[in-house]
């Protein structure tokens, strides 16, 4: 059997030195072509697990992602990240955000345009602060779809037909998909496996 895309043992996330653990004791084995949905209430640590996998929030424990430690720049270029809420710099147009992610990842504008189309963004030339929440989620999804990554990490993905189709396509070509959602809907069946968090630990 090939090495897992994500192999994590006892993930720990602590945001402030001496502060409480936001996540503890989470183990993940996610293989190529497979999916995992993390569920839980607001504040249960779902997003923190995703940030730990990406190396954005300091992970404790033993974690490898695509064979490298979390946060390794070369590995991050193989990961598509769709953050939650409103994660874009104000003043920019939605298209410029996706263009930036594509350019930093070594892709051209054509790839950004493809991702915008695939995510179903309806108003890519509108400034991000003026977008409807639905278009914010689609912009976030488009950022993750650039360059056909080996691992899709989706934080609070809304269940648009485009989201479902993108997850199916990714898993069909052998990419792994890790998602977190408070309202899972049809995602557990689509991703095939799920983990429920309570107060930062598997519950």
């Amino acid at each position: 059997m090939t090495d897992p895309v994500i192999r994590a043992r006892a993930i720990e996330v602590r945001y402030q030195r001496g502060g409480e653990l936001a996540v503890r004791g989470v183990n993940i084995d996610l293989h190529a072509g497979a999916g995992l949905l993390i569920t839980g209430d607001r504040g249960s640590g779902k997003s923190s697990v995703l940030r730990a996998v990406l190396g954005l929030a300091g992970p404790g424990g033993d974690t490898t992602v695509l064979g490298a430690p979390p946060g390794d720049p070369a590995t991050l270029r193989r990961i598509g990240w769709a953050p939650q809420s409103w994660p874009f710099g104000f003043g920019l147009r939605a298209r410029e955000v996706v263009d930036m992610v594509a350019e930093l990842g070594g892709h051209g504008r054509a790839e950004a345009a493809r991702a915008i189309d695939e995510a179903g963004m309806e108003q890519p030339d509108m400034r991000v602060e003026s977008l409807e929440v639905e278009d914010v989620r689609r912009t976030s999804l488009a950022c993750a779809l650039i360059g056909e990554p080996d691992l899709l990490v989706l934080d609070d993905p809304w269940e648009f037909p485009e989201t479902t189709a993108a997850i199916r396509r990714a898993m069909a070509r052998g990419a792994a998909v890790l998602a977190a959602s408070k309202d899972p809907g049809g995602l557990p069946a689509l991703l095939g496996a799920s983990m429920h968090l309570v107060d930062g630990a598997p519950g």
Binding site: R51, A57, P73, P83, G91, E96, V101, E103, G105
Partner: protein, 272 residues
Amino acid sequence: MNPVAVIGRIEARGISRRRWPMVLLLVGAAIIIAGAVVAAGRDGAAGIDTMRSWTAAVCLVAGLAVAATLGASAANRDADAGWVGLQVATGTPRPGVMLGRIAGRLAVLVGVFAIWIALAAVCSLIIGQGGDGPLAVHGLAMLLNMVLVLVVAALCSVALGPVASGIVAVFLYVSCLSLANLMAAVNADAIGTAWSGLVTTLYLVFPRAITSPMLSDMQYRAEAGVAGAQLEINGNVVLVPASSWGAVLWTAAWCGVIAWGAAMALRRRALS
């Protein structure tokens, strides 16, 4: 394109479309134009001093507001909201992301000062004072001072909120300005020798607030207005000399070191 340049370009573009930089730019421009109108009504040296003091006030007060606000937004809120995390998740090393964010803000600051300096030169020409090279040199000197404020605020923004970051940066600039004044007093034997060693040491180590030849002259004559009150210590009027090229290079080097420190500081910060 280099990732630092990509992030710098996108940050500069986003910030320049926001309302507050435009408001500060226009307020500064309006004051410069108002200064030109007042200066046009005065003859000779009085008119020149008026134009220069109003523009110098803009470079100091509005410049501080622009620089502190730009620097103070370099990390904190964007790091908590996920924007910095999205940039890092593209595979750009964290120091590169922070340097790009600082570079974009520097570009906006340079743009604002370029517009003010150019506007002042045009106004001077229109009211018959010529292009006023000394005023342009003063604008460049203040730009370096404001770069210092911006990078200090950016460094603070990795750990502090935007308001605290801006306040710390302005406080540091005022401290550097005070040190330059005290050093001038030491050189003029206007303060006791007990303090001169400490003042000299601090002056040599810390970044130096840059004083232009124009401001030095106007401050001594008590014509600089808001930009520089006449320095009087123990009853003696003290000349704060124009900064040397060595001081300029020292402060520029400090700016580079602080920007590098900000880039390194982001490595340890949790991002959303």
